[in-house]
């Protein structure tokens, strides 16, 4: 192939139309961008939120706490209704991985004594406190408050009723 000696005369030289092969990368790139763009547009936060909830729960069941922490953090990022789920799962994952200080500070957010926030967290705290061999009057009050908070959120919760009944029986 003979090239023109002056690069500026490339425009004027009689070259054939560009071959299909030189156009192919751009065609493929445009197709890739379109496909990725369409896939990303179909991304749905509600579906992802449910998916990450399942992933976090599964990771906790399998004691894969690093994965559970990441999944719970992601769940928190979606905000909205899944936020308390995310916080509770994050607390459990932190507890599992030995980060008790962080776990307890998160539990304080989702299961405070003074107001009902998230029923599963209230039940979890109540269950944990009830499992103690020795319970001070302060702990007794905390258990009752946690169970009442859980019932305030889920009046039909069989587990909450059962725990409350057991608590009073033991008392």
């Amino acid at each position: 192939m003979k090239y023109p000696s002056d690069p500026s005369t490339v425009m004027e030289s009689k070259r054939p139309a560009p071959s299909f092969w030189i156009k192919l990368p751009a065609i493929l790139a445009i197709a890739f961008c379109l496909a990725l763009g369409v896939s990303l547009l179909r991304w749905n936060p509600d579906i992802m939120s449910l998916r990450y909830q399942a992933i976090a729960q599964k990771a906790l069941d399998e004691k894969d706490y690093p994965a559970a922490i990441v999944a719970a953090n992601r769940l928190l990022g979606f905000g909205g209704a899944s936020r308390n789920d995310g916080l509770f799962l994050l607390a459990l994952a932190n507890l599992g991985s030995g980060r008790t200080a962080e776990a307890s500070s998160i539990i304080d957010m989702v299961a405070p004594l003074d107001k009902p926030v998230f029923a599963p967290a209230h039940l979890f705290v109540a269950r944990t406190l009830m499992a103690r061999a020795y319970r001070s009057p302060q702990v007794e009050r905390a258990i009752e408050a946690q169970l009442r908070n859980a019932l305030a959120l889920q009046p039909d919760s069989v587990e909450a009723r059962e725990l409350l009944a057991r608590f009073h029986t033991q008392k």
Partner: protein
């Protein structure tokens, strides 16, 4: 002796030379603009290519327009010398260049030189930090799009700021990954290639945004692929030589895609000239400049001489402290804080990992302090080249900055930035930071001056070595008034001690 046009043009060029040299030296420090030699070469090639198409003999434009442009250029250059802004100097060089082109060849020549001027514009960083904002936007976009792509690939991850966290691993989406470096280069290359191919306006309109889309998608693909490989196969391609190689390969791919995309447009749309005058007729030696032109060029040369003297004095004034700072603080520097400051006492444990302090600089000394119910971390980062707003580091790592104030105490304590931040899950942070230079001046207040020059946000503002003190207070809730005052006191005491120690060691 009658001055020749070349002699006058030489004087005109000398007027800009000192500040332009500084401009290009500064530009070389910015990785995203390191393509400027190629861009200038491209501009030169386009100018050479188009020059021969101008009808001969060339007819110079009306001298009044040249005079007006030179007047504007002189005023801007004088301002550049006065406030010492190399950036303004290159801005001033544009109207001067246009004035000369206009005078030499009028509208036909100016039209032909248009592409070269556009090419030069691509290497001038925009004012008010627009390129920095573009970089931040691209980094956010790259992180968000990569996160969604990772969702499609089934990679469990979460995003905090510009950090993608995988189970047990963290990936920081840095500037290089965000594509800002590639965006500017690919834009300049696309412009050069399309100008060279003499493409129509519509081709530019399609190719330039498409090239930018390729860059963004390329970086999303790079980050997603890297995270995917690390998650499933523990293979790291986002660090070390692999990262550098990927960057080179990606830039080559972008160039190929621009060439390929251009080929998609029908060739009939090219606006190629039918014939050119012979090259020997391109000489401009016959151009006659008006008598006043030489005088104006002499005035520009006076500014050039003034800039040279200022540059010489500045270089003498800044070399010594910098040398001292480097020799003292990188090898022998030692900083210490007492075990107790007020009712704060030193502790070995720091706040939880999630709220670690963000440091920057070659060295960072860190101390943990506590008092009942509170934990604070103090860091001293040094040496930092120029001023750096540490708030950006916190934002990048997932902190949401709710409030940022500059506080100027009346008791002579250093002015400081005070930030209120939050981060999931429910962590509240309060940050104080102050920056001191080697002269012992606290410089944070100067960065928020709302005068005209500051608002311009000109690149290459004063460059100096600085040292930063910061205090981070974290908790489940914002500190109450008493805790806030206690932390404020701790910050003031620590700042005073650390700045004193720094100055003693710099001056030793």
């Amino acid at each position: 002796m009658k001055p020749t046009p070349r002699w006058s043009l030489g004087l005109l060029g000398f007027g800009f030379l000192p500040l332009l040299v500084l401009f290009f030296l500064h530009l070389w420090k910015l990785p995203e603009y390191q393509f400027f030699p190629q861009a200038l070469a491209g501009a030169g090639f386009l100018a050479w290519d188009r020059l021969r198409e101008v009808p001969r003999p060339m007819v110079g434009g009306h001298p009044a327009l040249s005079a007006a442009l030179l007047l504007v250029s002189f005023a801007v250059l004088a301002l550049a010398v006065f406030i010492w802004s190399p950036w303004l100097a290159i801005v001033a060089a544009m109207p001067a260049g246009i004035a000369v082109v206009w005078r030499v060849g009028g509208a036909p020549l100016l039209q032909k030189m248009g592409p070269s001027l556009v090419m030069v514009l691509t290497i001038i960083p925009p004012p008010i930090g627009l390129d920095v904002r573009l970089g931040l936007f691209l980094r956010e976009a790259a992180t968000t799009l990569s996160s969604r792509t990772l969702d499609l690939l089934g990679v469990v991850h979460c995003v905090t700021g510009n950090v993608i966290e995988l189970p047990g691993q963290r990936l920081l989406v840095e500037e290089a990954c965000s594509g800002i470096n590639s965006v500017l280069f690919v834009t300049a290359f696309s412009l050069f290639y399309l100008f060279w191919r003499r493409r129509s306006f519509w081709c530019f309109l399609v190719c330039l945004p498409a090239a930018l889309a390729f860059v963004v998608m390329g970086n999303v693909a790079r980050i997603s692929l890297g995270a995917w490989l690390r998650y499933y196969y523990r293979v790291d391609i986002l660090n070390g030589w692999q990262h550098e190689t990927e960057s080179i390969v990606l830039v080559a791919v972008y160039v190929l895609l621009v060439v390929s995309l251009e080929a998609l447009f029908p060739r009939g749309k090219c606006v190629a000239p039918k014939s050119h005058p012979p090259r020997r007729e391109t000489s401009t030696s016959r151009v006659i400049f008006p008598p006043w032109f030489h005088t104006v060029c002499c005035l520009f040369a006076v500014l050039g001489l003034l800039s040279t003297i200022i540059a010489w004095n500045k270089s003498k004034a800044t070399v010594e402290p910098l040398r001292a700072a480097n020799s003292t603080l990188t090898s022998e520097a030692a900083f210490s804080l007492p075990d107790r400051i007020g009712d704060w006492s030193r502790s070995e444990s720091g706040p939880p990992k999630v709220s670690k302090i963000e440091t920057l600089g070659l060295s960072s000394a860190i101390w943990n302090y506590q008092r009942p119910g509170m934990q604070a971390v103090i860091a001293f980062d040094y040496p930092i080249w120029s001023y750096h707003d540490v708030a950006e580091c916190y934002s990048r790592n997932g902190w949401i900055i709710q409030k940022k104030d500059i506080v100027v105490p009346k008791n002579g304590s250093p002015p400081r930035f005070q930030l209120t931040m939050k981060k999931d899950p429910g962590i509240q942070g309060t940050l104080w930071f102050s920056t001191i230079n080697e002269k012992g001046e606290w410089v944070d207040q100067a960065t928020v001056k709302h005068d005209f020059i500051s608002r311009l946000g000109l690149p290459e503002s004063q460059q100096e070595t600085t040292y930063r003190v910061q205090l981070l207070l974290v908790g489940d809730k914002p500190p109450d008034a008493a805790s806030f005052e206690a932390a404020n006191y701790l910050f003031e005491e620590a700042s005073a001690i650390l700045s004193r120690e720094m100055l003693q060691q710099v001056r030793r």
